[in-house]
Symmetry: C3
Subunit: 142 residues, 3 copies
């Protein structure tokens, strides 16, 4: 959680771009444990990418995201978060003449596993421990 | 919205096939704005595609779709839409000796953004404006 | 249903590994029809894979799964199933020094189609018939 999937045209992002964008995306989720945030870039060949039923497009970035650790509970929080995503993404897309679209799905907290361990409940002391270690930890003996 | 992801064997579809299939898929969503409809073709190498736990398969097309702009409200509407999808897909799959499967997920309308803009509500005048322009438009001053 | 998507670093899995892992995943769903279970392996180049906003990672396996045919109804069943997945995945990941994460989404049964046919209801006689044939069958005349 979250998993960001970025479909992009060949050559749209350099390695430095990808590193920077992944870092910016990770900041969006602070104070979640940083290692919760995964970003996969997938280059799409021009003849494999279609928008609106016209010919193939070479200037489009399509992002889909799965959220697991948190469900955003109110319309205001959801709107604010989308606004924050827009801020992060705009320089990498609009700012370079690329059209773009993203959407987020929210999936079940209890159907999720990291290194074989069940992630701790949101805002728990155990989650804080994972955040500080920045990796999955076995449960401590009581 | 919608985002169609088409996993297919190498060489299953020519560029003309992809263009035609993307156009047919787009028609399924009329009268939504055409540019809402995205299709990504992803070639899967034969040793990367497994069905039923047997050896790798070379004649299988697997499609997954996320719907965002609309939730289909009744069993009848849902069944009819799946039937329409089947009609579009059959000539590109069964008609060529390919097995195939698809499923659709429905995700939240308010966690969606196009070019940094919040898409207008379904069937609104604003959506009509987007449809006619066939692109995302900033909200008009009141 | 289910669709497993396995993002993995180049060279992490041999063809034999993929066959074995796909077979093990398929066993998780017994007694569902075996051909319901699809697994797609997607190699991710090192500079395309980011976790936690640090530099690119070369030792991470990220799996996302869509479940369609069944919704797991109780916390206990869900926990047990995740445990079974962990058992299957651990030798292919932790056992090789790879970090890993997976999550499962559950999508709607009625927005699903195989070879143009609507899959039979869970635990129906018709599903048994599909299981025995291990393929999609047209409905029988009454």
């Amino acid at each position: 959680m979250p998993l960001w999937n970025v479909f992009h045209p060949a050559g749209a992002f350099s390695r430095e771009d990808k590193e920077l964008l992944a870092a910016r995306i990770t900041e969006l989720y602070n104070p979640l444990p940083k290692f919760y945030v995964g970003v996969v870039f997938q280059e799409v060949a021009e003849d494999c990418f279609y928008v609106g039923g016209r010919g193939p497009v070479g200037n489009f970035v399509r992002i889909w995201v799965d959220h697991i650790a948190r469900t955003m509970p109110t319309a205001e929080i959801r709107k604010r978060f989308i606004g924050m995503c827009n801020e992060v993404l705009t320089p990498f897309t609009t700012g370079r003449g690329l059209d773009w679209e993203f959407h987020i799905d929210e999936t079940a907290f209890d159907l999720w596993s990291i290194n074989g361990l069940a992630p701790p409940l949101p805002n728990s002391d155990e989650e804080k421990r994972w955040r500080e270690a920045n990796r999955a930890l076995p449960a401590q003996a009581a």
